[in-house]
Subunit: 257 residues, 2 copies
């Protein structure tokens, strides 16, 4: 009960921080915020739709003319509304599931830009218009200051309260980022998960599809029933042992193969 209240307060505070940030950067509603030409807006709508529908694959950077559109989308409110919509959808699915007594009903959540956000970092990378910078991202992740994504934190808590075992599965390297990631998640209210699974040396260099498929296979072989699998990358949601339903959260800023 007290735990639930603490989570709720945390959630409200996170929403407030995001709101203040958006306000401080002068964000207006999505459709009127930054100056994007109608041609660019139309093109970037097509591009974002194609990314989310898994039509554009293997892309390395956001098209340069889409920086303004993506800033509008990510910071102007629609991104958070999309997440809110999806979390409602996920919960209406989760609420239909009848859990068994064996406590082996499981969910998988990705970490980066699913549980915790790299939006502040990517703002400095022109929302993905700059190419991937492994050292820069590592330094950011080491700081352990990624804020929770409020609606996903709420989903996380509701899944745990319902009795699901929640597994957080990330491509982050265990050796270098394990402690920072564990602390970051804890600080942001992700408490009570079954296991945080990071990439060990054995999986280094593998694609996310291959690595995460093997992790899900192990969980399935341990007897877990994966009811849902949530991630911001199609590579979280492809391959084998996908789970009963997958949910793609939006992310127009980067692509993980």
């Amino acid at each position: 009960m007290i735990k639930a209240m603490v989570h709720r307060i945390r959630e409200v505070m996170i929403v407030l921080v995001v709101a203040v940030y958006v306000k401080a950067t002068g964000a207006k509603p999505y459709w009127s915020w930054a100056s994007v030409s109608p041609e660019d807006e139309s093109y970037c709508l097509s591009w974002r739709l194609a990314v989310e529908a898994n039509n554009v694959r293997g892309w390395r950077t956001v098209p340069p003319q889409c920086m303004g559109d993506i800033e509008n989308y990510m910071v102007g409110g629609q991104y958070f509304r999309d997440l809110h919509f999806l979390v409602d959808l996920i919960l209406s699915y989760a609420n239909e599931i009848v859990l068994s007594d064996d406590r082996m009903d499981a969910w998988i959540l990705d970490v980066d830009d699913t549980c915790i956000s790299n939006l502040f970092y990517y703002k400095g990378k022109r929302y993905g218009c700059d190419p991937y910078d492994p050292a820069g991202f590592k330094a950011w992740a080491m700081r352990g200051v990624c804020p929770a994504i409020p609606s996903v934190l709420s989903l996380f808590n509701k899944l745990i309260d319902s009795g699901f075992k929640v597994f957080l599965v990330t491509g982050r390297d265990e050796e270098t980022l394990g402690q920072a990631t564990t602390d970051n998640l804890h600080d942001q209210g992700f408490v009570g998960y079954e296991r945080l699974i990071l990439r060990t040396a054995a999986y280094r260099g593998q694609s996310a599809v291959k690595y995460k498929s093997q992790i899900r296979k192990q969980l399935s072989e341990q007897g877990y029933r994966i009811w849902g699998n949530v991630g911001d990358q199609w590579s979280d949601l492809q391959g084998e042992y996908l789970g009963n339903r997958t949910f793609k959260l939006p992310n127009p800023m980067y692509f993980v193969p």
Copy 2:
């Protein structure tokens, strides 16, 4: 050469017809056409994104508050721009393929709202806010007047000109709609495909995923290499023998399981 010119003229004419139609109905650019409240617009953006990313499944009607948004999207220009974007993307993929001499390099295209459009019909069904009406749709399809989707007709012609064998695979019933569909496609310029495959009695009542998987399996067993598979429904692009790449065209008006 003459065939290509005829196709090109046809294509330009179809674009003109669509343009005149849009003009006649008073369509303005996407973002300023119909009167949709910002709240509804935001909600419907989330809904459409969730449909295209395969997050919302098994839906029977468009949310009633989204009729205006979907009309704007379908008739205001963005739908056609999204299709144009995707066809460019598909062609840039197709152009990389080195064809074999055995003439077994194949593509699969869906028919309804991939090759030919049911937009005029669905306008009368409040863009999908009304429930599916099998008799009404059959009567519409029997008329054989679905216009070509210009960018997909262009893709179709370019694939054939490149040497691909194009298979049109549709869930339409062969017995009742075979002739009308064949004529409709021909009238709209879809000439030169390898085979039009309609649903025979053996597949009646099966889900599109199951039916289309079996068709693709047969083609694969006949030795065809399916390089691409294009459809407006996720059920066109799921199941088995999917082909090397799948491409999801937008369709916020209906869902085929």
